[in-house]
Symmetry: C2
Subunit: 458 residues, 2 copies
């Protein structure tokens, strides 16, 4: 008889897992019936695309959907949208779901459970944080809500938090003609970079007309009589706001899992093994799997568990999960902390540890910053690029790289990520066979210039 | 007493070596006097930039010079231009040079000799190959000669050979308004790619208005009574030509070294150890060093010696040579065969073995081609990219990657080069932590999509 699989969460991780499980099961002959539930309206979408939808680069939400509910159903998945999982009994093997459209509760029995419940925006613990007009941007439904709200008479926006989503949403709203202020508690925006590089981000934001207020804490969201946000009150003054976007990070949405007694890490993310089975160290929880923004991943550089809510990991983890669930074999080998974005025409990227991270961890390090150009200096379109390399003393093992620059800069982080992945030294990276032609690179790639300087100093 | 170093060849390899030797010697306390000779007018220039100078992207030769003769002299190098090394006596320790400006011969004694004599264009072994108007493009002096010639009443150009320099020069001349025909003996242009990808190059060239004639051998260059080229006679017909550019490859310029009995490989390149000492296997030739286009490099994927005349290797090898010569320690760890260029707006890149290479070597392989986009498919500016991965059966070790695509494609080869460098499998590469954001990549990077397909098939 076929095993019953219940998948909670129908975005990247859950649906990659479901699809890959069925694909693999077809090959292995394993019998699987798959039910997937999600409390939202959408499946398999790019949440990362929401700021570009807000900015108008993308016409509508359907463009952000990689695979529709109909396509998933055609592939044999029993998909139930607007259906929220509210209780989980692992011993009895059921999950209770509420069908919000039908107003019906139901218990779905399972042999195998896939948790892909994602992450939820962190709301500042201050009065008014739940007011009308204060938005987290995590799901496609969130994105739709923001866009509908911006269609009102909305002129002034405050973004709280200057990380990836904060910057992307700030730029999107400036491009829609709003006056935008970004408030952050750190000395410079983008704290996944060191402050010396964050300074360049700061300047790029100001260059775009964004008001950047750093080293500032939000104390309260002021609301009117209808419960609608009107201003953001901070320790640096009051900022009028017709709309507020929260860029204060997300946390794993693991309440259901926690209530069921499943193992969570320090970040509240589910602990998994490299096959994406929920596991507490070596103790695997039989028949329970998890992937995506609700799990922790092993950071190969930090040598610790981290929470990195990125669509690329969700897709990979979902695929690994599905392969194993379907009777195949795959493993998710961890992360090195690679991420990138752009602010106006400034590209930023990072992988591994920043200088601040490494010093905070008590490591004996060297950090070197090199200025260069994206193409041969004489070639039209050569753009400035700054590469900062952090390496361990005295051996020179690479610990992290940060890149800030104009067109053609940020994707160079991938080479650095692979160098970290393979535990290379700066001297080794400097001598590897990277591509060179004047329209693409100086004769020493900017990454190798920086790595070489590290090697020279050691 | 200071040791006397003579450097033959004042371009990237020679002058990197000289500069780095002096820099290192300052640190180690080793006493060095450096004399450098070159038969041309220039030092430390980007020969790779010549096509862009011809095209008008670069205003003049001075822009292609990374370091001028005056700068080198100011750094303490006794630099002699228009000075050609004509004979070498290793036992006696002198090189005889001709100063073409002064018309004087001289023997320069040395304790240490650096050979950086570069490479020379291969001229087809057919009548008329030395005619006026037939140009190889290797040195900055060559570039200047072509440009002066093109300023005449020159309308029709024939390029013989559709490799990197052939394509770049063809495009440059089309952009100057010439009618350009490219003749090559292979089924498709750009034989450093497999023909299926070469086909895209062929189409891009035709799209630019270049006449591409493949599977065609040159039989003769027709000349007029003044010895000026007038047509290229091939087995596929006669092509009128006011100017001919040779893109038929280069060979190491090692006549001097060969005459002196130094060890050459099958490619005629000098054999060196990883410290850039001339060496026949384990037998190092004491006090003789070499770097750049005149040497062979160890190919880590082929596991064989190859000749890869690229500025990026010349710079790295020169630096390694100089470090060791100056009393420090460095090694050049070899190459994996990475290269890239662009034809109009088509970018092309390769690293490692092509499918044809691998099959010719008798390897049991799988080759997979994946079509994708450079950004998330919904993001403005997403461009088509084709990635072809070659891997070994059954383990999946990566052997080579080729990329052809529009803006944002080619530099992705560097990740592949680093994967080859570290002997990764396709499955490993597919799961590494590469960067993702919609303006930069689909959620699975195109390289990982291709690698994943290889892993799936194995």
């Amino acid at each position: 008889m076929a095993e019953r699989v219940v998948v909670i969460g129908a975005d990247a991780a859950g649906m990659s897992a479901a699809s890959q499980a069925l694909r693999t099961a077809e090959r292995t002959g394993r019998g699987l019936d798959v039910v997937a539930v999600d409390r939202g309206h959408w499946t398999s979408y790019s949440a990362c695309g929401i700021p570009y939808w807000v900015a108008g680069d993308v016409a509508g939400p359907h463009q952000l959907v990689a695979r529709t509910p109909e396509e998933h159903r055609a592939n044999g998945i029993d998909l139930r949208l607007l259906t929220e999982a509210v209780e989980l009994d692992l011993d009895a093997g059921w999950v209770e779901v509420v069908d919000h459209a039908a107003g019906r509760r139901e218990r779905l029995g399972f042999d195998q459970l896939v948790l892909a419940t994602g992450a939820a925006p962190i709301r500042p613990d201050v009065p008014g944080a739940d007011a009308t007009g204060v938005f987290g941007v995590q799901t496609l439904d969130d994105g739709g809500a923001v866009i509908r709200y911006l269609a009102r008479d909305v002129r002034r926006a405050v973004v709280v938090g200057a990380g990836y989503i904060g910057l992307e949403m700030a730029e999107a709203m400036v491009r829609r003609g709003l006056a935008v202020t970004v408030v952050d508690r750190s000395p410079e925006p983008m704290t996944t970079l060191d402050p010396d590089l964050g300074r360049q981000v700061h300047e790029a934001m100001e260059g775009m007309g964004i008001d950047v207020v750093t080293e500032t804490d939000v104390e309260k969201f002021e609301i009117d009589g209808d419960g609608v946000v009107r201003a953001v009150i901070t320790d640096a003054g009051i900022f009028d706001a017709d709309v507020v976007v929260l860029g204060t990070g997300v946390r794993p949405a693991t309440e259901l899992a926690r209530a069921a007694g499943l193992p969570l890490g320090a970040t509240r993310g589910l602990r998994v093994d490299d096959g994406m089975r929920v596991a507490d160290g070596d103790r695997v929880v039989d028949g329970v799997w998890a992937a995506g923004d609700c799990v922790e991943a092993w950071d190969r550089v930090r040598r610790d568990w981290v929470h990195v809510p990125l669509g690329t990991h969700a897709n990979k983890q979902g695929r690994v999960l599905g392969t194993n669930l379907g009777g195949g074999s795959a493993r998710f080998p961890g992360v090195v902390g690679t991420a990138l974005t752009k602010v106006c025409d400034l590209e930023l990227a990072r992988t591994g540890l920043t200088e601040d991270d490494a010093r905070a961890a008590g490591l004996d390090i060297i950090a070197v910053t090199a200025e260069s150009t994206t193409r041969s200096g004489y070639f039209p379109g050569a753009m400035p690029i700054t590469v900062k390399v952090v390496a361990e003393r005295p051996g020179g093992r690479l610990l992290g790289v940060q890149i800030v620059g104009r067109d053609g800069s940020a994707k160079r982080i991938d080479v650095c990520a692979l160098a970290l992945w393979n535990e290379m030294t700066a001297a080794e990276l400097a001598m590897t066979d990277l591509s060179y032609a004047p329209p693409f690179s100086p004769v020493w790639d900017p990454v190798q210039i920086a790595a070489r300087k590290v090697a020279d100093r050691l």
